[in-house]
């Protein structure tokens, strides 16, 4: 496939691997967090860790939208579908997310809830148009990548007078999560992160500028990288170079899609429709200030939380679940005692085991042979 095979070429990968091996300083460790689940998935699926020297440690970050969604939000979605009897439209990953009391949207569907999988907000609008007598709610989830599409859907719904359409908004923001990780106590000790592989798709929207303060204020280099395996390896090489030279800058490996300012039109659309929530609960990370979006006053009529008067719900994770520590990068999946025993992709207890972008699911599905070795 054109424009894809070039970024998965085995010969180039060997070349890059050799360069990284040559350029790393054997006397130190390089602790690099890939923030995004998309990178976690690529690293696991292509076996990239096998191509790197042992002193480069890749730590999986919290950039997986379904992983950081707290159970209370899924409980609310189930409430919408089962009690308010709406037609709930979700992206595929959300169906299996564990909610309280062993429930999930898939389980709710088996109990009669009308939950349907969509691929885009345009599909969601079509369901609303085709079912004018039903309340149709789109379960909006994702980082800045998917937010503009939700904004457009709300604007279209208003223009077309789709009064039966609303949005259950769970859009979250990348920079506050990185900030939270950098400010957490574990970052003061020996396990501090040395640098970040920055998001690919998120950065196409927000640009590289929002990360600059992590380099200046925290002294951490960040390299924005595409989701293909050679992108990831090239970004690692660039981080190694920065760390060896004592630099801390935002660099852009994904120049074919990301600019410093990002997609200004998308940013304008989001600003038109959304406002910052004062605070939002993230699974594993806790309540983070100014870290999520909701529909603003002008578009509140399309906000399912307002329309159905949803009360804020909060549900604790399982006591032994280490999703929080794993999402902050302070524990590995195999260090959780539920991993692979009580918690598996078939019966996920923690959210990191749900999406294939989650650190635990990626390690279980692709990498657990390393634990057996």
């Amino acid at each position: 496939m054109k424009y894809i095979d070039e970024f998965r070429d085995a010969g180039s990968a060997r070349g890059l691997a050799a360069a990284i091996a040559r350029e790393t300083d054997a006397s130190r460790e390089y602790r690099i967090m890939e923030f995004c689940g998309g990178h976690t998935h690529a690293i696991s699926r292509y076996g990239i860790a096998d191509l790197l020297p042992a002193n480069i440690r890749l730590i999986h970050g919290p950039g997986c939208p379904v992983c950081v969604l707290p159970m209370g939000r899924i409980d609310s979605a189930i409430e919408l579908a089962l009690e308010h009897k709406v037609m709930l439209l979700v992206y595929g990953d959300c169906l299996r997310l564990p909610a309280s009391a062993g429930m999930s949207l898939m389980q709710a569907r088996a109990r009669g809830a009308d939950v349907r999988m969509v691929y885009s907000t345009q599909d969601a609008l079509r369901f609303a148009r085709d079912n004018p007598r039903r309340e149709v709610v789109f379960f909006a989830i994702g980082f800045e990548t998917t937010t503009p599409a939700t904004a457009v859907a709300v604007l279209q719904a208003e223009r077309d007078g789709l009064a039966n359409f609303s949005v259950f908004c769970n859009h979250v923001l990348t920079p506050p999560a990185i900030e939270h990780i950098l400010g957490s106590p574990s970052q003061a000790g020996d396990v501090a992160l040395d640098g970040f592989i920055g998001p690919a798709h998120v950065s196409t929207v927000i640009g590289s500028r929002p990360y600059e303060r992590f380099a200046t204020d925290y002294g951490k280099p960040l390299v924005i990288a595409g989701f293909e395996p050679l992108d990831v390896m090239q970004a690692i090489r660039m981080l190694v170079a920065q760390l060896n030279e004592g630099r801390a800058e935002v660099e852009n490996e994904f120049t074919r899609a990301v600019t410093r300012d990002g997609n200004l039109k998308a940013q304008r659309l989001c600003a038109q429709v959304f406002e910052l929530r004062e605070a939002f609960e993230w699974r594993g990370l806790g309540v983070l200030a100014s870290s999520a979006l909701r529909l603003n006053e002008r578009y509140r009529g399309f906000d399912a939380e307002a329309r159905f008067r949803l009360a804020a719900r909060s549900a604790p994770d399982h006591k032994a679940c280490e999703c929080g520590a794993i999402l902050r990068g302070s524990k590995r999946p195999s260090e959780c005692r539920l991993f692979g025993t009580a918690c598996t992709p078939e019966r996920p207890m923690g959210s990191c085991m749900v999406s294939s972008e989650g650190a635990c699911a990626a390690h279980y599905s692709y990498g657990r042979f390393r634990d057996a070795a």
């Binding site: 894809i4 085995a10 699926r45 292509y46 191509l51 299996r96 691929y119 992709p345 657990r368 042979f369």
Partner: protein
């Protein structure tokens, strides 16, 4: 039965007619449906006898028997439909024992309101598939459920076949050192069906690979009667099939990503849907595991057959107490190829 004397005055309306509850009631309407549709299409002496069962002559030896319920949606897809699929699926299940399929039985669950024109299209497709495979549908049953209680039509087929002497093919027979072969490119059925699902229509030239594999199997078994395992990687795809075999045989596997055949169309569709071709369903492909010394001959026999032209040796069976199926990635790394968990769901971003 005397076909000259009809008990009904008007023929079935295959243009605008619909299935109604009387077509499953056991009365005259059902007899007419059998006569004008099923007998007409399948046309063989066992069905014409109109008994509650088919009485069959079978050769001596071991019989293989398989049954498969087909609930595919949509009913018609590029490269096939539920009719041809229901014939191929069961023939393949029988053939994966190395057996020569002999006869099929078919049960239809029809939904009230289903268009007779569509039903006829499906039954004719089924009859064509059975004729081409030379495996007759010798007995059957029809039931009708109320509107809203079915999905148009469900078809269950059952098949029997005879296993040649000396052939001992089973999922538990993979041994370390055995070679793993596939008969062609993967994922075509799943992508073709997904491409025309409601809400997911996308332009794709991928057609379902649905096909009866028993003649390919016969050629392989002729060449190497000692084949250890045959399996058709349907739901869950190659990945799930290899894991089933690994568990049944208490072995591990190591496959080489660069050797796994995937067509450009399937690779592209999987790319933008966020799916992995290793987990996408096939309906006209098989996995073969055989001793290393047989692998060359079996591969030659596969490639000589039109349904095995793209056959490839993709890896080998290894000793592994964890029964992991692992893959050398094309990039040069290593990873597990795990069971499919739940439904295969697309990723968000």
């Amino acid at each position: 039965m005397n076909r000259a004397r009809k008990d009904w005055s008007h023929p079935l309306d295959f243009r605008d007619g619909r299935v109604d509850m009387t077509h499953g009631s056991g009365g005259r309407a059902m007899a007419q449906l059998i006569d004008e549709l099923f007998l007409e299409a399948f046309d063989n002496r066992w069905l014409r006898a109109l008994n509650d069962q088919a009485c069959l002559d079978v050769p001596a030896g071991r019989l293989a028997m398989a049954t498969d319920a087909h609930v595919v949606s949509p009913l018609f897809f590029p490269g096939g439909d539920i009719g041809s699929l229901s014939v191929h699926g069961t023939i393949n299940d029988v053939a994966m024992a190395g057996a020569r399929p002999l006869y099929l039985a078919a049960a239809f669950v029809l939904e009230e309101g289903f268009a007779l024109a569509d039903l006829r299209r499906i039954v004719q497709s089924m009859a064509r598939a059975a004729r081409e495979a030379r495996v007759p549908v010798v007995t059957g049953d029809t039931k009708v459920v109320q509107a809203g209680k079915g999905d148009g039509v469900f078809i269950t087929t059952t098949g029997i076949g005879v296993i040649p002497d000396g052939v001992e093919i089973a999922g538990a027979r993979a041994r370390p050192g055995d070679r793993i072969l596939v008969s062609g490119t993967l994922g075509e059925h799943g992508v073709a069906v997904m491409a025309c699902r409601e809400g997911l229509e996308f332009a794709s030239s991928v057609r379902s690979d649905t096909a009866a594999l028993h003649e390919l199997v016969a050629a392989m078994v002729d060449t190497a009667p000692g084949i250890h395992v045959l399996r058709d990687p349907t739901r869950g795809g190659l990945a799930t099939t290899l894991n089933e075999i690994a568990r049944a045989s208490d072995v591990g596997m190591m496959i080489d990503e660069a050797r796994v055949p995937v067509s450009e169309g399937v690779a592209a569709a999987c790319e933008f849907l966020g799916l992995d071709p290793l987990y996408v369903a096939n309906e006209g492909k098989l996995v073969c595991i055989c001793a290393a010394e047989d692998a060359g001959r079996v591969l030659g026999a596969m490639r000589a057959h039109s349904l095995g032209a793209d056959a490839a040796l993709i890896g080998e069976v290894v000793a592994d107490p964890n029964c992991f199926v692992q893959m050398q990635t094309a990039l040069g790394g290593r990873r597990i190829v795990d069971w499919l968990s739940g439904e295969q769901l697309p990723r968000i971003c």
